[in-house]
Each structure stands twice: as C-alpha cells, then as structure tokens.
C-alpha cells in the first residue's frame, strides 16, 4: 500500500485484514441414505435389483441366440428380424443396467465427502525451474553438440535424407491417370443395350416418353474363349464411365445444338448418366419437361436442349452420345463421347456447347 498520501489525506481509517468475517464452507448436509438405515437398505436393494436385471438380460441374450431362426427363413417380430431385435435389446439392456446400477450406487451409497481443492499458480516453483534449466544446459555441454560440428551436421543430414524415401513412396499412389479420363469404352458402331439385361434396343421398341438406363454392348460381351471382355475392377470402371440414359421424346421438342443436328434418331437422344458436378449417377427424369435432376445436389439438365444446366451447382452441360441406327435397326453410337464425362478436372479443356461439335 502506498505511503505517499497527498496532504489532507493522512488520516485514512485503518482497514482490518478481513473486513467481512470468512463464513467458511456451509455445513455438510447428509443424504437420506446416510442418516436413515431404512433408506440405506432400500437403495442397496435398488442397486442389487438393477444388477440382477442385467443378469436376466444376459441370460435372455443367450436364450434368444439359440431360439430365434436367422438365414433364409428368419423369425420376425413386429415386422423386424426377431433375432437382431432380441440380441441387440438384451445385450444393450444388460450393459446399460450395470451402468445405471453403478451410478445409483455411487449417488446413494458410496462415501459422501466434500473435497475442496484450493487454487494455486499453475507454474512450477522457481527453484524447480532453475534446476531444470541447469540440468538441460549441463546435458548440452556434455554431449558436445556445439563443439563437434561434424557430428551435429551429419546427424541433421541423416534426418533430412529420410524425407526422400517418404516422398518416393508417394509414387505408389499413382500411376497418373494419363488420358483415361478423356475416353470411355464407347466406339463407333457399338450398340446401346439395356442395363442389367444387356439386350440391344431397336428404334421401333421405344415409344415417346420412354426412358432406358443403358450401357455399351461391350459391358456384356464375351471374347472368343467365352470369357467376359471386362471383369472385376475394369468392368466397374468401364460401366461407371459409359453409363447413359436414352430417351425418346417428341422430335419437335428437341432444340439441336450447333454441330449436333444428326446426333438424335427420331427423337431418341442419349446422354451420359454421370453428373458433371461430382459424378453422381442421375436418372430422375421428368417426362413432361425433359429435365434430368441429380438427386445429390439438385443440378438440373435440359435433355431437349443439349443437356444444358438449367439449375444447380453443375458447371458443365451433360455430355451427349451421338446416336445412329445400324443395318438391323438397332441403336448404335456414332462415336465415343466428344468430351470427357463426369466432373471437371484440372487438365480438362473448357469448351462449351457449340465449340465442340461432332468429331472435334
């Protein structure tokens, strides 16, 4: 407290050390179970009952494991699989009741001491800090890291060069995709077939308003040994990139894009099924408007107008597959897609409709 008071203020009343008497902590009040033996007994029985119920549930779990049928002809309970409901319900209750019992035990019966931990500074005492720094300094001095630069520098070098194996291992994430993103398995003259069943589609099969989820014929084709042309991962990749939707609409509804005048056949148009935003498969088509909606982020494409984006986050129109009819009357592709399908990527060009007509 300052002792240099201004003149006239030298008679400050003496302040006692504790202006208000410290009331201390309030007196401890006991729980009913601490003071009433009957309440204590009751709580004890409650906890034991919870543990006993847990045992019952565990036994019921074992029973239902053997009782309920699973597999081809499962038992059902209220429209649910009886086995799963019983196993999950009983095991969950068995564990929950142990937990509930322990909490009830702790709250009602375990020791009821009130503990007070006074606050103190978080830092270590001054002498501890001095001693620690001294020990650190002594260690550095004894290791001689400052006096032996050869040892120190080679250590840094050894640690630094360890980065190289880590960087080289990143190569295994590759190889780089090359031009795989630019092409699909569609080729000139390949038939358009129905997905799942793999049957080719005749021009005369489709009525106005029909929508077909289709794939290229090669997805279902076999080679000369009778084995599938594409299998496993290759099949999935080929399928996912080449999937298309085929629609027949009133030919008068179509607004042909520049260079796309002969891409449709009698009102039948074919577009990639992979959204150009983040690649969800889309086939939510409205027959009345020819709008194709992506369920993921609501991008909407106008299939009567070259697949232009009319709503949503997609940045590019939907790639269109040029169609033709072969000698037997089946729908075929005129070529591969003239642009990469699916979401945008860095190396992609940014041509829009009209700049990338047939064959470009």
């Amino acid at each position: 407290m300052s002792t240099e008071l201004p003149p006239g203020h030298d008679h400050v009343p003496a302040v006692p050390d504790e202006p208000i008497a410290n009331p201390g902590l309030p007196a401890h009040t006991w729980r009913p179970t601490d003071v009433d033996p009957r309440a204590e007994k009751r709580a004890e029985r409650q906890v034991a009952a919870l543990f006993l119920l847990s045992m019952v549930c565990a036994v019921l779990f074992l029973v239902s494991y053997f009782v309920f049928q699973i597999g081809d002809n499962p038992d059902s309970f209220a429209g649910l699989g009886a086995s799963n409901v019983a196993l999950g319900g009983t095991l969950g209750l068995a564990l929950l009741l142990i937990g509930v019992g322990i909490i009830q035990w702790a709250r009602k019966l375990m020791g009821d001491h009130e503990l007070v931990e006074m606050r103190h500074p978080a830092a270590s005492p001054e002498e501890d800090r001095v001693a620690t720094l001294a020990a650190l300094g002594a260690g550095l001095e004894e290791s001689g890291i400052a006096r032996r630069p050869l040892v120190r520098n080679t250590l840094f070098g050894a640690m630094g060069i360890l980065l190289a194996p880590a960087v080289v291992m990143l190569r295994d994430l590759g190889p780089l995709p090359g031009d795989k993103l630019l092409h699909t398995v569609w080729t000139k003259g390949m038939r358009v077939v129905r997905d799942v069943v793999g049957t080719p589609i005749k021009l005369s099969d489709l009525e106005i308003g029909d929508l077909v989820n289709a794939e290229p014929e090669i997805i279902f084709a076999t080679n000369s040994q009778g084995e599938p042309e594409y299998e496993g991962v290759d099949l999935q990749i080929a399928k996912s990139k080449a999937a298309v939707v085929l629609l027949r609409m009133d030919p008068d509804d179509i607004i042909p894009g520049k260079g796309r005048e002969n891409w449709s056949v009698d009102g039948i148009v074919c577009y990639s099924k992979i959204c150009t935003h983040v690649g969800c498969p889309i086939s939510l088509n409205e027959r009345t408007t020819h709008h194709l909606l992506c369920p993921c982020h609501q991008s909407t494409f106008d299939l009567a107008d070259s697949g232009k984006v009319i709503f949503g986050p997609a940045g590019r129109h939907l790639p269109q597959l040029p169609l033709a009819v072969d000698a037997e009357g089946y729908l075929v592709a005129q070529s591969d897609f003239t642009e990469p399908v699916g979401p945008s990527f860095w190396e992609r060009d940014s041509k829009d409709i009209g700049e990338q007509g047939e064959g470009s």
């Binding site: 006991w30 729980r31 601490d34 009433d36 059902s76 029909d210 077909v212």
Partner: protein, 293 residues
C-alpha cells in the same frame, strides 16, 4: 286434386269390398312378392357378369366422361389448353384403358383441385364405372390395355424360377426405379412441388399400369423398353420388400440418412444428455444430522 282423390277413394272402396274375399290372401301374397322382388332388382349391387356389350360399355363410359372428365380433357378427349398455352387436361387419344384404370382406380383422377401433381385418394367411381370409362377412352385410339393377373403374377413359376425372377427384378428396380422412388420404394421429392409416390403397398396391377403408361411426369417403360417379364419381375421384387422383415431394425420409413440422422441426433443424443444430467445432478439431502455410531 279433387278428381284424383275421388278416383283413389273409389278404387279403395272397390278393393275394400273384396278384402275379405277367398282370393284376397293369395293376392296380397303375390303383390308382396312382386313388390319385394322389384325393389331388390332395383337396389341390388350390379353384377360384373351382367355382360353388357362393348358398344354399351363405350356408350356408358362416354356418358360418364362427359359429366366427370370432359371439362378438362375436352368433349372428345382431345385435351384442353388455355389461351396462353397452359395445359388444363392432356389429350386422352391413345393413352389406352390402362391409363384410365390407373388414374381413376387409384383416385388420382378426377383431381380435386389443380396442383403440381394429382394425389392418390379413394376412387370416385366404382369398378363398373371405371371399366366403362376405360372402354370409352380405349375407343378413342389404340393404347395399352389393362393388364391381367397373368401379366404380373409369378405364381405359375417353379420355386427356382421365382427366385431368379425376384433377383432380376431387384436389379432392374435398382437401375431404373430407385432414382426417383427410393431404394425401398418409399418415394421421393421431384422438382417444382412434384414427388415420386411411395410404391410399397400398391396393388401390382397399378404398378404395372404406371410402368406401361407413365402417369404424371413419370417416364414410360413400355413393353419395348422393359419387356412384360421384366415388369413382372420388378413387381415380384417389390412384393418381397414388403414381406421381408426389417432385418436392420427400425427402417424409419426407409428414407435413408435424413430420418436416420434425425433419430440419432434427437433421440440418441437426447438420451445421452439426459443420463449426463442425472449423473451430475445433486442427490436429495436430508436435514437430519448423522448419528455417529
């Protein structure tokens, strides 16, 4: 009026004179039989087998059509457009009997009010009237006819063929239908207030007709698109979805992550918060002092 009264009174007087005659009982019996028989014939439910000829059906359907449908669809089913080109009711030439059976049979038509989409509701016409309407609309132009049970039932197949049909139907369903109707057939939202309806619990005939005719904004899946067998398989698969018990527990409407996430956040986390509050809450305190033993 007086004349009528007089003649009725005269007739009653004559009947009255014979009411104790020997044949009166028989006459009353015959009259009673005639009366009840006529009443029954007038009010009894009409039998479907009362095979009226096709021409009669079409004529009856046209009558019903002019009263209930022509306001929007035109007096000859040609469709009506407003002056600025909006469609009030589309043309019905060539939609076929299947479209009528679907739209009227599921109560979607007649629409109760104009809107984004016709709602499913109890049908406004009985089966006989729907058949007549279907016959009339089918007579306007060739279109798909109403499928029969043979078209969508797999009862005639062997057990192996049935399994095969269900598996194939499932793949076709997942490829062609789930985009709009959801992976369990629970339906989903479509642009501008439309929606794809729930297709679980719908009669197979209506599912078949919907595929055939493409109601509202739905694409059609004509027989050239999905063959009749493929349609049958899809319906068989939908049947198994309904029969299979929910093996993953509560389906929450089969709506996917939205309903499941809501349930987990509200009910699951809500219960955990409740437990946390219980654990940390003060227990009851007594005013009594503890007696040290």
């Amino acid at each position: 009026m007086r004349l009528l009264n007089r003649s009725v009174n005269g007739w009653a007087g004559r009947v009255s004179r014979h009411r104790r005659g020997p044949l009166a009982g028989l006459m009353v019996l015959l009259l009673g039989l005639l009366f009840t028989g006529t009443l029954y014939a007038a009010f009894a439910p009409a039998q479907a087998q009362q095979a009226s000829s096709d021409a009669d059906q079409v004529a009856k359907g046209r009558e019903l059509f002019l009263v209930g449908c022509a306001f929007c669809h035109g007096q000859n089913g040609e469709g009506i457009r407003t002056q600025n080109g909006n469609q009030i009711g589309p043309a019905l030439v060539g939609v076929g009997a299947a479209a009528v059976d679907f739209q009227v049979g599921t109560g979607r038509m007649p629409m109760s009010q104009p809107g984004a989409q016709a709602q499913r509701k109890p049908p406004a016409y009985n089966d006989e009237e729907i058949a007549a309407l279907a016959a009339y609309v089918a007579s306007l132009g060739p279109g798909p006819s109403i499928p029969t049970a043979d078209d969508y039932s797999i009862d005639g197949l062997s057990e192996d063929q049935r399994q095969e049909a269900i598996v194939r139907g499932g793949q076709i369903f997942l490829t062609n239908c789930t985009a709009c109707h959801n992976f369990e057939g629970s339906g989903g939202a479509m642009p501008r207030g439309g929606y794809a309806p729930k297709i679980r619990g719908v009669e197979p005939r209506y599912i078949y007709e919907a595929m055939l005719t493409g109601p509202q904004a739905m694409d059609t899946f004509s027989n050239g698109n999905l063959s009749p067998e493929e349609k049958r398989d899809v319906i068989a698969y939908l049947g198994t979805i309904e029969e299979t018990p929910g093996y993953g527990g509560f389906g929450l409407g089969g709506l996917g992550p939205v309903s499941e996430g809501l349930f987990a956040w509200l009910v699951g986390l809500g219960a955990l918060v409740g437990f946390a509050i219980w654990i940390a809450a003060h227990t009851t305190r007594s005013t009594k002092e503890k007696v040290e033993a």
